[in-house]
């Protein structure tokens, strides 16, 4: 018995020591020793032949549209066949979880080379955390491949941190055209708040339904109400004025901001939209609209794909004119992107650059985007999906859309704006107190977290060196 015990003691001790060594050795397999300063000469010419046999991993969030993940995998497979490289793609978590995933990767030493960071996350936290590489020079040959100024949506302080790759979006108003025709109304861009109010009153009295629905349970959509009211109350200078506020050059508690919050409250006070939108997520809002429980749905044009089964004609217009002489600007942008991570192996930069070039070819990008059935995409040469509202949405995007304001401010400010608007909908706040609430949140970030809007101006040379590519692989964009 005692011999058995002794043997067991030795065995257990050995097992523990072995497991400790195994635990400590976890990362060595992935790191093939590339030095960021070796000049990267062997594969730095970006030639596709030079990247054969190299492995990289693209980590992205789960794709929400049917068939989209398969389309991405097919594109990756085609890239591997064309170049001889070994690119892997990993889908993990929701887009809101991406920071968490990358934090875990950083802490555990996982070698992810590329990712797909939404522009909101990029601006609010990921770029200043040094996770994504400054690829300004790498993508210079590709800059003509992007629609309009969509590359600027991934550019911060003059540095490109990602390339747009996916849908473009704009916020506006879906409406039940059949119902409005029946009620004797037509709706065209340039209509006023009073026009909308008249229609909504007719909808309520004759159809007995809530006129407007909004997917407010997906709380990140609430700031879009502020974007469109503030655009008009600021005289269509909302981006410039917001930047002043974020630099601390002016306050949130000023007349134009207060008026913008009061405008939002007016929609609720006049009964055009009810607090039930606070409890309605995107699927439920779309179902409400399709089942004709609401005549209007304020949301992004990309949601048109959710209206399958609607047996009525759908229209799409800009927001109403709230202020005389103002243009009813929408907010939007090219949210989806491809980025190179600083977590990856620097030796693989040439593979990453080749991937950026390959995936921005229209013939490669088109099948990757098609499952979204969106009205427009960020790559030149990839046509939008034709639907009854696609032309109207594209016109809205090109003529009326400014960049989402939440791509300027911090996540804390965004949550404060959401809470303030929720307070307006429930009657807890008026315009003044809502503006004060956001100002308090802004002050807290400045005093407690040393918030600086133009963080890129505070970065040291070392900070920039940490996100700079070790070398610039040449890309043949021809």
């Amino acid at each position: 018995m005692k011999r058995f015990r002794k043997a067991l003691v030795i065995l257990l001790a050995l097992a523990m020591v072995m497991s400790l060594f195994a635990g400590c050795n976890g990362n060595s397999g992935n790191n093939n020793g590339g030095s960021p300063n070796n000049g990267g000469e062997p594969n730095s010419n970006g030639g596709e032949g030079g990247i054969a046999g190299k492995s990289i991993t693209l980590i992205t969030s789960d794709k929400s549209y049917e068939g989209q993940a398969d389309a991405y995998e097919a594109a990756v497979q085609a890239f591997n066949e064309a170049t001889g490289a070994n690119m892997n793609i990993t889908f993990q978590g929701k887009w809101t979880d991406l920071i968490q995933t990358l934090q875990a990767a950083k802490i555990s030493g996982e070698k992810y080379d590329m990712t797909s960071v939404g522009s909101g996350n990029l601006h609010q936290s990921i770029a200043k955390s040094g996770l994504v590489m400054d690829i300004t020079e790498i993508v210079e040959p590709l800059k003509d491949r992007f629609v309009g100024d969509s590359l600027s949506h991934h550019t911060i302080g003059g540095h490109v941190f990602g390339i747009p790759h996916g849908t473009v979006s704009t916020m506006g108003v879906f409406y039940n055209k059949t119902m409005l025709d029946e009620l004797g109304f037509t709706l065209e861009n340039g209509y006023t708040y009073e026009d909308l109010k008249t229609i909504c009153e007719a909808v309520k009295s004759q159809k007995g339904i809530t006129p407007i629905i909004h997917d407010g349970a997906s709380s990140w959509w609430w700031p879009s109400w502020f974007f469109f009211t503030y655009a008009q109350e600021s005289g269509n200078k909302s981006e410039a004025e917001l930047e002043k506020i974020l630099r601390g050059e002016r306050s949130w508690v000023e007349d134009d901001i207060i008026a913008a919050f009061d405008d939002i409250k007016m929609f609720f006070d006049d009964g055009l939209i009810g607090a039930e939108s606070l409890e309605t997520d995107t699927e439920a809002a779309a179902a409400n609209f399709v089942q004709q429980n609401a005549a209007f749905y304020f949301c992004t044009a990309t949601n048109y794909v959710k209206f399958k089964g609607a047996d009525f004609e759908i229209g799409y217009v800009a927001y109403p004119v709230l202020v005389d002489g103002a243009t009813p600007q929408s907010s939007g942008g090219a949210d989806e992107a491809l980025n190179i991570l600083t977590l990856g192996n620097p030796d693989n930069l040439d593979v990453c650059a080749a991937a950026l070039e390959y995936f921005t070819r229209p013939e490669v990008a088109a099948p990757m985007f098609e499952p979204t059935q969106n009205f427009g995409y960020s790559i030149v040469g990839v046509d939008g999906h034709k639907t009854p509202i696609s032309d109207a949405a594209f016109e809205l995007f090109t003529d009326y859309t400014i960049m989402y304001l939440d791509w300027y401010w911090a996540a804390e400010h965004n949550d404060a704006v959401i809470a303030a608007i929720q307070g307006l909908t429930t009657g807890e706040y008026d315009g003044q107190s809502a503006a004060q609430y956001v100002q308090d949140a802004y002050d807290a970030t400045v005093s407690q977290d040393d918030y600086t809007y133009e963080w890129w101006n505070t970065w040291t040379e070392d900070d920039w060196a940490a996100v700079a590519p070790a070398y610039v692989p040449a890309i043949n964009a021809g």
Binding site: R5, V9, L12, K106, S125, S129, A420, T425, A444
Partner: protein, 310 residues
Amino acid sequence: MMKKPSAEQTLGGRLKGNRSDKAFPYLMIAPAILLFCVFVIYPFAQGFISSFHKWDGLSPMKWLGLRNYENIMQDSLFWGAMKNTFLYAILVTIIKNIFALLLALFLVKKVLPGRTLFRTAVYLPVTMSYVVIGVLWMWIFNPTFGLLNPLLEFMGLGGLIRGWLSDPDVAIYSVIWVDIWKWTGFHMVMYVAGLNSIPEDYYEAAAIDGASSWQRFWKITIPQLNSTIFTNLLMSVTGAFTSNYALVNVMTGGGPNNATEVAATYIVKTGLKYVNLGKANAMTFVLFIFTLVFGMIQLKTIVRDENYDH
């Protein structure tokens, strides 16, 4: 004749044997201790250290001293979330145990037709995930097409209709109700087991002595269920503090206007969304201190020797 002592009987042998005997239990529990240290103690200590730093989880930590804790003291959202956390824990613990005990008293009767069906139905929500339950109740509460408001209207209780998740005065109670609904069946099963273990003789003797139903409940049932009640309360409180994150996150995300924010959701938001892990960890330690004090008071109040079966 003197027998030559064996190696184990010599002083050196005994010492060697004793050392092996003493080491044996430690080595037997060593794997568990090792895992505990790696997955509990080390992260706990690391979290505590990071609470004195500015840290986004991505860049190196920067020493801040007590600044994170000072910031927490001034953070009204955090204290609002703490208030909701305690409200949640207290209400959930009390109400679900009362419901569970009443249901157990009702369903323990052997003559009740459909008893098994009722027990299964009440237990069913326990098997479902928080996400499923959260979405299910979101749709039940929905004021446009949900089931609850039309049901109230049908029952002539139209005055009670409201935005169950959009009214800031009501939303936290709606979420609390869902937690109660989910876990009542679990505690009911424990109470049924406790009730079944009380000897019938006690009730028969009390009946002969002329005790009323109420007296039998207070003088026999409750004292005999003492250990079961204690276990249920302990599990309820622990669960209410730790499991509120998923439900709140799915159903309201902490809104409207932070009305349903609990400490767990605010900590996760601070750590992962605001990328401020140092402050999030400081909040975690403040919550830890509060729950520790709360737990100690609860233990002092409830734990008595008679709560345990010997």
